[in-house]
């Protein structure tokens, strides 16, 4: 009981006043905006007749990377990356359909024009959320770039996720870069201190067979030392994009189950507020699905990759997802006409394969879009969120204790 109270004390430090269960905060409304499109994707998946534009796109802007992770070979690949002007043509064609844009790599900040690309996306597509993962090695470029992006993309929520897989030199060893941990920590702290109003600074950890037994310690360390706005983990998978097929990097399902157990316990002992509770409810569902996927070897959650989400490779290939990395078509070959690729026979064929459940994976990015479009997931997440809201509204005493203890 004491730990629960302590957990709440820690959590209340940055909290706004107690909210009643009935009112939705505006950022929750922002989060739920894509839900209005969910029925269209649901019908599209059921019938195969509709091909709405995706609400979630990942732009892998380069394979180049200055890290050499044990869980990734992408840095070995080379292709002719799309240029800034080519990206502008893609964004022009996509228009305002995009809700969530992720700019990944390789290391996305290795491109000096990364922020120009993201700004071009914002100007043309106005995504509600922009996510950029980084290894934190390009300190100055990250700090200046995010500051510029924050000023420019005022209507978007910008999420910068620092990749951290171990503590101290263990992180350096897993990432193949001596001194990575210290550099990451310094840049992370400076970015947090900048406190850009629309920027969330998070920690993202890849759980592989190399660190699965260290995740518990890492989790505690991150919470105490980094105090991130969000802490997310993802299972290291065998993906075609990353050339990890055959690398034996995925943790055993039983080992991962312990990680999930710890993460869920964390959520129980440190419940969020407002939008954080909703995010936690989705995250909780994701972790459960990821574990079941590893254990049951099947598509536990109906996958909407190729419908609600997709990825554009650095060379302009359009993929349903980075796990399969099968091209629906190439944007350069179609004059950057996204819909021409999206409505091609090949794209339909890939969607049918996914719908039949021929593949399964715990890919987080696609899973979150799939949850939004999956009625049973929405019901579960919604119920959990409502329950947490009611609990919070009816538990002012705990809050008072927490506030007093500060």
């Amino acid at each position: 009981m004491l730990s629960v109270v302590c957990g709440r004390v820690a959590l209340t430090r940055s909290h706004r006043p107690l909210r009643t269960a009935g009112a939705l905060p505006s950022n929750v409304n922002t989060m739920l905006r894509p839900l209005s499109k969910a029925p269209v994707y649901f019908i599209a998946r059921q019938t195969g007749a509709l091909r709405p534009r995706p609400l979630n796109l990942t732009f892998s802007v380069t394979y180049r990377c200055n890290a050499k992770c044990r869980t990734c070979n992408v840095w070995k690949k080379r292709v002719d990356d799309l240029t800034l002007d080519e990206y502008k043509a893609v964004f022009d064609d996509l228009g305002s359909s995009l809700y969530w844009a992720t700019f990944s790599g390789g290391e996305p900040f290795i491109r000096p024009d990364l922020i120009d690309i993201v700004v071009a996306c914002y100007d043309r597509c106005r995504p509600g959320m922009i996510t950029i993962p980084t290894n934190g090695l390009f300190g100055k470029r990250i700090l200046e770039g995010v500051a510029r992006l924050s000023r420019h993309a005022r209507d978007s929520k910008i999420i910068i996720n620092f990749s951290l897989d171990g503590i101290g030199s263990r992180h350096d060893e897993l990432r193949g870069v001596p001194g990575n941990f210290v550099k990451l920590r310094d840049v992370y702290r400076q970015l947090k201190a900048a406190a850009h109003p629309n920027v969330t600074v998070g920690i993202h950890s890849v759980v592989s067979q190399f660190n699965v037994k260290e995740v518990s310690a890492l989790r505690h360390y991150v919470r105490e030392e980094f105090r991130p706005d969000s802490f997310i983990t993802e299972v290291a998978e065998e993906r075609l994009e990353l050339d990890t097929i055959g690398l034996d990097i995925t943790p055993a399902a039983d080992d991962y189950a312990k990680v999930v157990e710890d993460l869920l316990m964390d959520m129980d002992t440190t419940p969020g507020r407002g939008v954080a509770t909703l995010v936690q409810a989705f995250r909780r569902r994701y972790y459960q699905i990821a574990h079941r996927t590893l254990k049951e070897h099947r598509q536990v959650l109906p996958c909407y990759a190729g419908l609600a989400s997709a990825q554009i490779a650095p060379n302009g290939d359009v993929w349903t997802c980075c796990t399969r990395a099968e091209s629906m078509g190439n944007l350069r070959a179609t004059g950057f006409n996204f819909m021409k690729v999206w409505t091609s026979n090949r794209a339909d064929e890939l969607r049918r394969s996914i719908r039949r459940g021929e593949c399964f994976c715990p890919l987080a990015n696609a899973a979150y879009s799939s949850m939004l479009c999956d009625p049973p997931s929405i019901v579960r997440v919604g119920l959990r969120w409502l329950t947490s809201q009611v609990r919070q509204a009816n538990a002012p005493v705990t809050e008072t204790i927490g506030e007093a203890a500060r």
Binding site: V74, E238, H297, R324, A325
Partner: protein, 126 residues
Amino acid sequence: MSTLTSSIGDVDRLPLRVEGPLARMLGTHAGALSVVQRESGGLPRLRCELQEPVKTSISLVVRVHALNGIPVAYSPVEMSQGDRIFETHDLTLFAMEGYSHLPPAERQIVERRVWSRRAYAIASTA
């Protein structure tokens, strides 16, 4: 249900699933492919012998999947009317375009690693 057979007895076999309309044309839903190694060390050929010759010419695609269902390789196959055997000649791994800069020997190392994850194949109409 009839099954596919192979004329090569000592080689690696890959379970094969045949999709709906093609299953009618080939006269089977499931079977096995023989994995025939190449002396050059490159990706093998996949070979299948049907119980009956096909009645019409068919263009099909054979995709090789890993255990988690990810297709890792594919090959187009043409069968003419009366053919009883089909064989893949140009098995290609997916997502290798980023490795065009590698010398053949290094590409083969990657190919062998990816190929080690083969679990089953699916044949469908092209």
